[in-house]
């Protein structure tokens, strides 16, 4: 149990380091890359929480598939919505 608790603590430290990194990155002059970096860090934090805190690393294929299904649907929704808004200017220009 002790080893597992230390592991949880290390993941928490990693999460706080990622939080610090995203605040620092938000203050840097990164231009158009800014949202990409802040969302990449958010995905990294979510992955740590899912994998370790939510114990996806210990789950079987069915549970992982159910969680992946939510992600796949969200990615499809976001991609299709973005493909509308990002390409609206193509015709008028």
């Amino acid at each position: 149990m002790k080893g597992l608790l230390i592991q949880l603590g290390l993941v928490w430290v990693a999460l706080l380091i990622l939080l610090a990194a995203t605040v620092i990155a938000a203050h840097l002059p990164l231009g158009a890359a800014k949202p990409w970096i802040s969302y990449a860090i958010a995905f990294a934090k979510a992955a740590l929480i899912l994998w370790v805190f939510m114990e996806m690393r210990k789950e079987g294929a069915i549970a992982r598939l159910a969680m992946m299904a939510a992600m796949v649907w969200l990615i499809m929704m976001m991609t299709l919505s973005a493909s509308d808004y990002l390409t609206r200017g193509w015709l008028s220009g």
Partner: protein, 209 residues
């Protein structure tokens, strides 16, 4: 101390029953993720259509309150994970302390959110309330999104605190080494945390000046 949960129909094996418990909870959490996904899609549409105004609107939020709340929820999630691990390891008292810590951090999160809402009211940033004034249409929409998304999230925080409180007060839950109640309450709490992890860069980080 109940080491093994009772087997219910139609299950013939505890491992299969546990898998079904877990799957049901994860399907519920996936539907919650879809609910918030709709809100995030709305924010994305607003940002893609009006990038400059969106960033300017985000500059009116208090970055440090949002950052502090992110750290608080991450720590609270750690406490929930510790509660699961200690209950599973046969340390119900320790698990209870971890649950109480997770609950207190959740309440602190709500307190800071309430303080933030108060300061936004004084600055006239709450749509529909007396004295509200915005620089433009996009800031108005951004603040609508801010209150709908953080408000819905806060309701989930309240629900999560209620679940964790039930788990903390139940001796049976803390002594259950299969962590049925604590495990599922913790899963819910982690999802609430993940949603905030995405709300934070959506709302607070676009403009930090």
């Amino acid at each position: 101390m109940p080491e093994q949960r009772a087997l219910h129909e139609p299950f013939h094996h505890p491992a299969r029953q546990r898998q079904a418990d877990r799957l049901g909870m994860i399907l519920f959490l996936a539907s919650e993720a879809m609910l918030f996904g709709g809100l995030f899609a709305a924010a994305m549409a607003l940002r893609l259509l009006y990038p400059a105004d969106y960033v300017a609107a985000s500059g009116h939020l208090k970055l440090w309150l949002g950052t502090a709340n992110t750290a608080i929820l991450l720590t609270s999630s750690l406490m929930a994970a510790v509660a699961v691990e200690t209950a599973r390891g046969g340390r119900p008292r320790l698990s209870g302390y971890a649950l109480v810590a997770a609950i207190l951090l959740g309440l602190l999160f709500l307190g800071i959110k309430g303080y933030e809402y108060g300061s936004e009211y004084r600055e006239g940033l709450i749509p529909g309330l007396h004295g509200a004034h915005f620089e433009g249409r996009v800031q108005h929409l951004f603040m609508n999104f801010y209150f709908v998304s953080t408000g819905l999230h806060a309701l989930h925080v309240i629900g999560g605190i209620a679940l964790l409180t039930i788990a903390a007060f139940s001796r049976a839950a803390r002594q259950d080494r299969t962590v049925l109640l604590i495990g599922n309450a913790a899963l819910y709490w982690h999802l609430v945390d993940i949603i905030w992890v995405f709300l934070y860069p959506t709302l607070y980080l676009p403009d930090v000046s």
